[in-house]
């Protein structure tokens, strides 16, 4: 890692502190009813993620990562607390408002890619446009070119490798220009070579200004992020800025 001075680090931290928060959690909890009683999967979480920040969410299985990702992805709502994304109070939204909000604000990258098997790579990217507003094949093709898959646009997912499928997934996540990219174990199903490619794409996106929230078990991937949010038994531990100075220097 490139060494930075204390002054540079403090400057970077100050920049992030003053960055407009794109995600803000205040006392957010999520409880589930189970046979043995109420389970608190996320317990009084409070933190902010600034616009343009790259945050890694880490923690062992059962620590509440998925619950947090569901909340940040607007696939679920908190039992209590305030969740604000891009200036809007998500916790108070209805189901249909959440659907609309999700299409506008969140780009998902999944560990298992989740491409529609009967649609080509291009059409899979356009699917996100379809549920967002209007489809545009030229934009979708450019998104695929951006992740190095211009020549594979008309291929079905079954004709693509795992790494290529994940890149289609990234292109689909970005096609509507969402303020937040939510990546859940984006390299979990990839070999080392494809991990590098995907990590490189995420790095480029971050450099271009994307806010990335990434769940990962992989320390190498986590090290790419500016900040770690560690979870344990539903409790959140925010780590200080790690690499922001390196990123800024780059």
């Amino acid at each position: 890692m490139k060494m930075v001075s204390e002054a540079q680090r403090q400057h970077a931290e100050a920049m992030l502190e003053h960055a407009m928060p794109v995600i803000q959690l205040v006392g957010v909890s999520r409880e589930y009813a189970s046979r043995s009683g109420v389970v608190r999967a996320l317990d009084d979480a409070s933190f902010t993620i600034g616009a343009g920040e790259w945050v890694a969410i880490t923690g062992p299985s059962g620590s509440g990562k998925s619950t947090l990702v569901n909340l940040l992805g607007c696939l679920d709502t908190p039992t209590s607390g305030k969740l604000t994304i891009d200036g809007e109070e998500v916790h108070a939204m209805s189901g249909s408002e959440l659907d609309r909000f999700r299409a506008d604000k969140i780009g998902f990258v999944f560990q298992q890619f989740h491409l529609i098997p009967y649609l080509s790579a291009l059409e899979n990217v356009m699917l996100a446009q379809y549920f967002h507003s209007m489809t545009n094949a030229d934009d979708a093709r450019r998104a695929l070119e951006r992740v190095g898959l211009g020549a594979r646009a008309d291929h079905l997912p079954s004709e693509l490798s795992g790494g290529e499928q994940q890149r289609v997934c990234i292109a689909r996540a970005l096609i509507n220009d969402p303020p937040i990219l939510l990546a859940d174990e984006p390299t979990g199903n990839l070999d080392a070579a494809n991990q590098k490619i995907v990590a490189g794409i995420l790095r480029e996106l971050h450099a271009a200004g994307s806010t990335i929230v990434m769940v990962t078990h992989d320390p190498e991937m986590a090290a790419l992020a500016q900040r770690k949010i560690a979870l344990s038994h539903g409790k959140v531990f925010c780590h200080p800025v790690q690499h922001v100075v390196v990123k800024l220097a780059q």
């Binding site: 659907d99 549920f131 689909r172």
Partner: protein, 395 residues
Amino acid sequence: MTAASVARRKPMSENPDMGHPSGFSGDKKSNGAVSLPRMLVRSLKFRRARSLSALAALTVSAMVATALLTLYADLDAKLHREFRSFGANVVATASGAVALDEGMLRQVQGVVGADVTVAPIAYAVATTDRGTSVVVAGVDFAAMQKLDSWWKVDAWPAGTNDALLGQRAAGFIANEREVTLSYAGKAVTLHGAGRLSTGGDEDSRIYVPMAAFTAWTGVQPTVLEMQVPGGAERVNAAIAALQRAMPGLHVEPVRALVAGESRIVDRTHSLMYGAMLLIALTVAISVLATLSASVLERRRDFALMKALGASQGQLIGHFLLEALVIAAAGGVLGYVLGSGVAWAIGEWNFGTATLPRVSLLPVVLALNLAIAAAAALFPARVLRGLQPAALLKGE
């Protein structure tokens, strides 16, 4: 806020210096490569086996519905036609001084309508050349042939002096070629043209042409047998009309036949309704199973669509539309096949073709769509309870 993030959040038009993070413009103009019909067709093709299974079930339902409804619409006419071959369903007898002569016959025909077959019959008890008593009936053979088409006759009499011999009556006669009969001391010799076998009273009678009968016996017709087409209502209407117009006649329905016809028609209708209901239920269950399997198989696809921003309505609409498209295709296919089946059944059972009824197509389509929509209700509930987060996580 970082400079980069501020730049990224601005639309492309306001921020020419900063490229789109994914490398494409924000300009949205639809050129429609992904559309609902396209996804629908691809989805149906991709799950060919499931789609064909649902299509087969819905085609069978439409086929059976079309065949039954086509036959049903034609059933009354066909059954009444069949019942007509069982003989008279109304009998009129002259009472008192009323004579059933030619004038009276014309009057009766005028009251009941031209489509009613009216056969006058005169009876006398004569003696055969063997000295046996036998009932001789004077009839109009043309009318009898129409009225009693079910009779087993080896040859209908054609000549003015020809007689039709009942199976048993023939045994009372020495020479069938030269049938000599005596009535009130007056003998007549007729030519036995053929034999009649019904298994009933007719087998013990000898039928002779009305003109020869009246010339020989001087006896006028006393009975009118009538075949009124169109079922119990029409029969009762004809009887009422005759009773009003000709009080000198004693008019009665042949109860067993009229009631039997009515009962059989009603039962056939019930049977058809029952069969249709049963088939609709069977098909609905089969389609329900297919659609449920289809939703469970694709719940991750639907979860993904939900994560991409699809509303609950869009997901259910997408799924419902798939079911309805299959139902519509099955409806059209089933209508064509069902019309063919109805034609074949009509031809085999009633000897007349039942022509396709275009008016049934919307009915059959509506029925199929209703079955598919009902069968899609349960899978739609599965979609409502979809947990995209857990499904996309692979749980």
